[in-house]
């Protein structure tokens, strides 16, 4: 259940962004800069959330009218082990410690759909959380830590659980649009696991940051999955990329793991944010190709 604490949209007085140098953080920083929102963008270079001193530093920074957006985490490419899991919890602990002493007006936590089990066919916000990875467990634990803290200081908490996000600034080169588009740009083969049968929902980064923007302007609280409501197979996705890039090829390989699918019921998202618009995947892929073309200075790559 989403609750909007502002009945009409209001620009936040200031956004404090933790994790400003990551994929999502960079895009959020650009979004709020474009919107003219006053912002304090913090990366690990400014405040290392792993250090005990982080809580005190954050506490001194937070203003009562701030919207805190917490999207800082050690992602699975940095480690999938217990040590990384514990580090992520430590970061959450420090943020919660700061919040409990110096509350702001809203907290938005950028979580993940990894909180759900791998074998859930259709996911909605009421789907029981059964993370199969430390990454998912970490996000779920942080959600709970923040909820307890937010409740104690009476601050609205919005947990946004994005599915696989794609965009030019992705730093993980994850399996899906991010890797496929780059491979196609290079003219390389797009390597699929098996025949690429698994169906997934792919969310454009612009849609995610727009949604988080809505959450901030409406001072929303609750939990929402960020997805498009349309899933396609990796094989279909790869073919779209090749078709749009007019280069590259799709290569299948022997599958090792089981086939799992992921679909989202996004009714709650559409109902809570009627103005939310999904970027069609084909459009998002084309835009990504165009941007990569511009940034690479390679005129040979042309998105159709």
């Amino acid at each position: 259940m989403i609750r909007h604490h502002h009945t009409t949209r209001e620009q936040p007085d200031r956004v404090v962004l933790l994790g400003a140098k990551g994929f999502i953080g960079r895009s959020l920083a650009e979004y709020f800069a474009t919107a003219g929102t006053k912002m304090l963008a913090i990366s690990s270079a400014e405040i290392d959330l792993l250090l005990d001193s982080a809580a005190g530093k954050l506490q001194r920074l937070f203003q009562p009218s701030d919207v805190l957006i917490f999207c800082s985490a050690l992602t699975p490419d940095k480690g999938k082990d217990i040590r990384t899991f514990m580090k992520n919890l430590t970061m959450g602990e420090h943020v919660c410690a700061a919040l409990s002493k110096s509350a702001c007006s809203q907290v938005i936590y950028v979580s993940s759909d990894a909180v759900y089990g791998d074998d859930e066919a259709l996911i909605r916000e009421t789907t029981p959380c059964q993370p199969s990875s430390f990454h998912g467990l970490m996000h779920l634990a942080r959600e709970r830590m923040l909820q307890v803290t937010a409740d104690a200081v009476r601050v609205p908490l919005m947990c946004v659980r994005p599915t696989a996000v794609y965009g030019v600034q992705d730093t993980h080169n994850s399996y899906g649009p991010n890797r496929f588009v780059r491979a196609a740009c290079r003219g390389d083969q797009i390597g699929l696991f098996g025949a690429g049968e698994e169906q997934r929902d792919h969310l454009c980064i612009d849609d995610l940051v727009g949604l988080i923007g809505f959450c901030a302007m409406s001072r929303s609280s609750g939990t929402i999955n960020a997805a498009t409501g349309r899933s396609i197979s990796f094989d279909e996705l790869a073919k779209i990329v090749v078709s749009k890039a007019q280069r590259g090829a799709v290569a299948h390989s022997v599958r090792n793991g089981p086939i799992t699918h992921r679909h989202f019921d996004v009714s709650a998202l559409f109902k809570a944010f009627p103005e939310f618009r999904v970027t069609p995947l084909e459009t998002g892929i084309s835009n990504m190709l165009e941007k990569l073309m511009v940034s690479s200075g390679n005129p040979a790559i042309r998105a159709t």
């Binding site: 009421t126 498009t228 409501g229 559409f270 618009r277």
Partner: protein, 432 residues
Amino acid sequence: MIGFVGLSHLGIVSSVAAASRGFDVLAYDHNEATVGTLREGNLPFVEPGLRELLERNRERLRFTSRLDEIRQCALIFFSSDTPTNVDNESDLRHLNRSIEEAIPHVSEHCILVILSQVSPGFTRGVRERLQSQQPDRKSKVYCQVETLVIGDAVRRATHPERFIVGAADPCEGLGEVYRRFLESFPCPVLRMRYESAELTKIAINAFLVSSVSTTNMLAELSAEIDADWTEVAPALRLDRRIGPYAYLSPGLGIAGGNLERDLMAIRSMARRNGTDARLVDQWIELSRYHCDWVIRTIHLNVLPERSNPVIAIWGLPYKPNTDSTRNSPTLALLSTLRGFEVKLYDPVAVLPPAYASMATQCGSALETCDQADVLVIMTPWAEFGNADLKRVEEAMRGRIIIDPFGIFGGKNERGFGFSYFKLGAPPYPKSR
């Protein structure tokens, strides 16, 4: 003389049906306005055939707001519809109060029948209270399961499939007046203990919800795999284990309030008694999911083409032949269309005040289509199926029809250029 205490939908339909079997009927309600309306031959709601039946039997029907008049009745039905709260849980306070107020005016041998929707244990509680308060009273207490279907209530009340009667001791004979009343209808009478009868009512609705949920689940799958549910359903109807009257038409979840109330009752009883009723939670969740089919279709298929569409909606009640908007999918849809220009038409129902600002209510179906980008048919009124699609096409700016119930059948495919979405079948044209 047969008395009915409580004149909402159930009480009015039941009292008129009793009069139609030749009984003299006294129908009481504390609300003088309701009684006045009925005395004038008018009805406070829409129910096909009821006005005519009332007219034909007026000489045997007397409406009153004086409770002391029920003393002349040998058989009294407590017939008010049980209200529910926002969580669809029954609120039996009104019925309890109604019984307590009536008892002092009831003759000593009068037979009392609870017709209202009650939870298991309610009727036994009434009997025990009565016995402890008035040990010498000879009144027998029964409960009778109502199976009113709004929009089809007259047919079902005048030609019931069966009577289900709950008694303290089902082996004991029914009181003479009650037996004569029941036998005046040509249908079986099933006698059972109170709790069984009360559970029967809930069980009927649970099976209906089960059918609705299964149909909706399979219809959604049907659309995804390029099957057409309208081709599947007839085969199921011919299966004796499923049957010709099974709920096999896909819809927008369960609505109306009665089914939801009984699901809540099952959940509540199961929790209290430690039985596993998680299936009910699944039904409720599935119902919400199917209720949201239209909003998902709009977001996924309309908004990518036109970001800020004008939306025309036909139909407001949760089903045709009624003006009841209780748990109506249209109202649920309207509350999710904030910020859009919405025009709405319904032949009988009016937008409740809380929703009045969410849509412009038009005087005709065609008027809503003027410059609309998408037409959504939320209630399958027969008149909508007869609409002239050519004129609709001329009036609209866009070319999208969302018709969950498929009232246009194959019309669109025969020469109209609409993109067409219905439950149970893939979108038309297929290339979408």
